[in-house]
Amino acid sequence: MPYLSSEETVKELKRALSNPNIQSDRLRYRNYILRVIRSMTQGLDVSPLFMDMVKASATVDIVQKKLVYLYMCTYASLKPDLALLAINTLRKDCADPNPMVRGLALRNMCNFRMPGMTEYIHQPILTGLKDKASYVRRVAVLGCAKMQSLQPNAEIDATIVNELYGLLRDPDPVVMVNCLRALEEILKHEGGVVINKPIAHHLLNRLKELDSWAQGEVLTFLLRYKPRGEDELFDILSLLDGLLHSSHATVMAATLRLFLQLAAAHPAVQADALEQARGPLLATCGSQSRELRFAGLCHVQQVLRSQPAQLGVHYKRFFCGYSEPAYIKFRKMEILVELVNDENVGLVLEELRGYCTDVSPELAQAAIAAIGRIGRTYSEKCLDILTGLLGLKQEHITSAVVQTFRDLVWLCPQSTAAVCQAVEGCEESLQDSEGKQALLWLLGMHGGQITNAPYVLESHIDGLKTEMSSVVKLELLTAAVRLFLLRPAETQDMLGRLLHYCIEEESDMNVHDRALFCYRLLECGLEETRRVFQGPKSDPCMGVLTGCPTEPVNSWASKFNTLGLLGGNDVVPASSDTAASDQRGHSSQGDALAEAVDEQLSIPEEGQQSPGLSLGALLSHEAFERHWLELCVTHREALGFQGPPSASETLQAALQLVKIQTLAFSRESTKPWKAYLYTHGSGTLILAELLQDESEAGNNSTSLVVSLKQLPENKMAIQEFVSVLRTVLHTLTKDRSC
């Protein structure tokens, strides 16, 4: 076919459509109409043919009718005056003996989106609602909603609303669901359709007849219903039980959401529902469609917030395939980090190491960050891997590794030595400002342990003129001053040059002012500078031990199976802590003072010669940690109990009663299980670690071992502490066995 411009095509079609010869030949006529539709779908404006198309609608041929209706719906709003001509034909069709024609006409009439339509469609819709064919009733019910949306400001027609509530009892399940949908739209401003007890029970009883889409929707509507009592609640839940295993992810997720919300006051029921739905949920994560897999993963992440330990054995399902899209890989890595436990840590790390060399730099960096997150608990293994990655000398990998190192050092001070050793020699392959900042922070904070720190710093100072990022310059100033405090002889000269350059030549006001500030501070004397610049070297909370506490299911249940969960625009690799750590260097400077005050407060308490144990002053996490690292174990003893005696919270409460403070404890089902305790007694401070470790050699392998450290030493106090601890554990164990 020769290419015709749009105008010519329209002209040609118009000629053909009005040709009586063609009109009499049904087949040719339809083919021309088909061509009109084709042109329309290609974006051609064929609205000038409206008159001819209206004529074509008067036919017995259903396909032709459908085509013409399709055309009319598209152009009716452009040509409202001509569309009125078509309405007569449509209204006649609404009374056709064939229910299909009736339904078709009614549906299309409602789809004409033009003002003034209401008066013409009102009557046909009312008739349609009482039609004997369910097909027509379905259309008519939704037509009510369309009519309402044509005149959004008009008052709600109470007769129609009543009619629709009545049709909820329609024998056809689709009509019933359509009624819900229509009512929801019509009553939008009044809070949507009301689900009272009879309606709720009616819906529940008919759930089985519905198709999966309708089931999903009805389950969502049912979220509005609040059962009166426990009996009713459990009746409802047992009706829904089977749907948790539905083959449609939609229905499964909707059911689970309803379960979680209805049973908000019954955590055991919630846990059971999650348990039942775990299989289907995991199956969704392995589904053929990558979009479904993604949605499944997002939901698993939510479940993990409350049940971190239960999914641990399934970690292999979250290994990334080579050809999977990036957004899935990001989610899988986030989940893997959550699932790590003693048994699988080796394999998970091995797997993550593989991702670090991924072609996509973002993925590689996310994988490195993930290893860093695992490193907070299993620092040694992760440090080995990360150090190995530095050997690759790849720019983006090195940068990510150094950033991870910084975060790791901040959270786990015990890894400092290894990091300081590893970080030497990696400065050459650092190009981006994020990586440079991290390296400078490490140099400033731990320059004492990095032998070539002054040289690295010097090379940065020499290259200052070519440095573009002002953030890096600010970090460089801080690092230089800090290093000066640690190694003054080697750094003094370059600090001078740096300050001179920044004060005299720098155009960025921020950098200039910071340099001036440093200079004036140094003038005030070293002590003052030290107090301002040298904050604590690690995070005050022992993130390692507590991990993230498990959240109650109710905190996320309301968001389950909603769009918000899949988080709109893009999947950001977990980099939120990087941003936070940028702030640390500066914000923590003030903390030094507060900490000093803390210590002074606690000393007099310790000095008291009180008999027995006392709660004494609260020990901050970092003070505990400092003592723990300084002291050596004075006493170790197997207590002979099998595992943690009961829920950690109970243990904590019980210990509190006998004046033993619990500082931190691991999650219940993790292995090894640990708890850190302390107390003041007979003038000493006792620190204790409870450890239950199955991997430990010995016959009594699952027994609980207590290790004690003390300041100052006092054998009596230790004996006393151990006996009290035994009594508590004994009581709790007895409680459980009853």
């Binding site: 049904r26 087949l27 539709i37 084709r38 459908k66 085509l67 399709l70 064939n98 299909m100 549906r107 989106r113 064919a133 369910s134 097909y135 379905r138 939704l142 909603a145 056809d172 399940p173 689709v174 949908r181 007849e209 198709d211 999966s212 889409w213 309708a214 999903g216 295993h245 083959s247 992810a249 939609t250 997720a253 909707a254 299989g279 995991l282 199956a283 392995g286 053929q288 469609s289 990558r290 979009e291 479904l292 949605a295 292999k316 399902r317 395939g321 050809s323 899209p325 990036a326 957004y327 797997e351 593989g354 060399t357 072609v359 790849q394 199976n561 769009l563 899949l566 709109g568 625009n569």
Partner: protein, 418 residues
Amino acid sequence: MIHSLFLINSAADIFLEKHWKSVISRSVCDYFFEAQEKAGEPNNVPPVIRTPHHYLINIYRDKIFFVSVIQTEVPPLFVIEFLHRVAETLQDYFGECSESVIKDNVVIVYELLEEMLDNGFPLATESNILKELIKPPTILRSMVNTITGSSNVGETLPTGQLSTVPWRRAGVKYTNNEAYFDVIEEIDAIIDKSGATVCAEIQGVIDACVKLTGMPDLTLTFMNPRLLDDVSFHPCVRFKRWESERVLSFIPPDGNFRLMSYHVSAQNLVAIPIYVKQNISFFESGSSGRLDITVGPKQTMGKPVEGLVVSIHMPKVVLSVNLTATQGTQKYDTTTKVLVWDIGKLNQQKLPNLKGSLSLQSGSPKPEENPSLDIDLKIQQLAISGVKVSRLDMHGEKYKPFKGVKYITKAGKFQVRT
């Protein structure tokens, strides 16, 4: 619920749009194009995109993006699953779901979309019911249609929706009564460098094609039902009987449907049908590398492995390959950097081998990452998990149906790392 649907090809052309409520301008897709550009590869476009006034939920299938526009809060799984259903329906109707086919059959596509959704709500999505409303095009029918001028539209309304069994229409009649079941299993596995299984699981489905007169009540029994984890069923299956007796008892829908899907994840149960000995190495100097791959059978239960294809995503620096295969054909696409080795049937006597050299871009460093191998294969007459149907009984009708079960094993996401 679903406001509008746009079909977009990988070249970012909108080739079909359908609005169920008011017309939304095409410009809403600009947000999608933006995301598409940012993602680079079409695979990487995130499924949910937030725009100031709408949500765009999309799926990517057969090189087409199905982009739906959402205005109110909806369960995301619902929309994703529905879009897949649309794609499946098109596939079912036209045999494939590609841009050209959709353009050729644009009118039927519109008719289908009109019936599947009304005012944005799913209406009729069962292919049984749709096919009665709109008959799928066949060569014979389109010829008859051209001659007689009859149409693709069913003249009568589907009756099934009012029967007591909603998924089955009443008054079904066949002269040949037959029931076929296909047990299809896909192996998803990752094999590491040394040949050890990193992870493996089997996704299985049982698809049925049942053409039986009247209201038959079928019972399907397995030899070893305990193998199956995570089963999910077509709504017709009586779940209580499965729980108590481990048999599938159901009144089947008419025609093709998926009876159940299951999952075998216990690692020791997943047999890996083939092994791959591979050696891909890049030299420090000389911008070249070597490749040597041999494929052999491992646990095939004596059945031949067919349709074996190995595809390798090479690093970007690999310019060309010089390889010889002892069996099958190999092709290296220099733009996508994918090497495809189509082996065909695995010869047990003389194992297929692919060997030769790779030439890299001169001056570029040796690639960090070794490519991984994606394997595709097919084994007829075998369900690799060992699932077997022992018998099929029919009650409720008098005639004797013709019964058949077919097993087939395929590779799903089967990947070998190097």
